[in-house]
Symmetry: C2
Subunit: 129 residues, 2 copies
C-alpha cells in the first residue's frame, strides 16, 4: 500500500524544508481503500482476522492481509499470534493512533453532514458540463 517509503521527514538535519506538508503523508498511511475501515473496526477492540473479514463488507482476504501488513509496518497496529490449533491471530491498535481517533471521528461526522451538499454540488457540476 504505502510500500513506497513516503518521506515522513527524513534526516532532521540540514534544515528540514519549511515547505513540507505532513498531511499528504498521513493520507498515504491510511488513504488505502480499506485501511481506514480496518482502523475503525480495530478501534472498537482487538479483532481476529476472520472477524475483520466479516465486519468489513466487501474486502477480500488478500486486501485485508495487505492492509494489515501495511498498518503493522507503520506501527499503527500490532499482530499477535497465539500458538493454538487452529491458529489464532489477533490484531489491535497501538497507542500511536490514540491521538488521531478524535480528528478521524470529526472527519466522519463532517462527512455525514456534508454528504447531501456534496451530492448536490456534483449534480450541479455534472449537469452544467
Amino acid at each position: 500500500m504505502s510500500q513506497r517509503n513516503i518521506a515522513v521527514t527524513d534526516q532532521p538535519g540540514a534544515g528540514a524544508g519549511p515547505e513540507d506538508c505532513p498531511l499528504p503523508e498521513v493520507l498515504a498511511l491510511i488513504g488505502g481503500k480499506w485501511s481506514a475501515q480496518v482502523l475503525v473496526e480495530l478501534g472498537a477492540g482487538p479483532r481476529r482476522f476472520t472477524q475483520l473479514e466479516r465486519a468489513i463488507e466487501g474486502i477480500s482476504r488478500r486486501m485485508l492481509t495487505v492492509s494489515l501488513r501495511d498498518l503493522e509496518r507503520n506501527g499503527l497496529v500490532t499482530r499477535t499470534v497465539h500458538p493454538d490449533s487452529p491458529p489464532r491471530v489477533e490484531y489491535a491498535t497501538t497507542p500511536l493512533i490514540e491521538d488521531i481517533r478524535e480528528p478521524l471521528e470529526a472527519l466522519t461526522a463532517w462527512a455525514r453532514r456534508a454528504a447531501p451538499v456534496i451530492t448536490a454540488a456534483r449534480r450541479t457540476y455534472d449537469s452544467h458540463r
Copy 2:
C-alpha cells in the same frame, strides 16, 4: 480523481445501512495525491492558478487542473474567472471545508509528532523481514 461517484449516502430512504463508514468517502474526496495540499494552500486565502503551481512543489499543470476540477466538482472550492487580459482565475475554499479545517490540522500535528515513531517502526519491520 474521485470521478468514480462514491456513495456519499445515496437515498436517505429505505433505512440507510448501519454498517456504512463515511471515513473512506472523505478520504476519497481529499485522498488524491495533491488534493490535500491544494486545500491547505487555499486555506491560507484565495490563490491564482500559477500561485498554486509554484507553491505546491512538484505538481504538474495537469494534476493541478485535475485536482482543482475535482475539488470544485465536489463543492469544496470555487473557481472565479475575472475577465481580464491576460486571463485571471482565482480559486478559494467554500464554507463547506471550514468544519474540517480543525480535524485536518489535528491530523497534520499528529503527523509531525508520530513521524519518528513511524520511521522507526518501518525500519524495524523491514530489517526483521
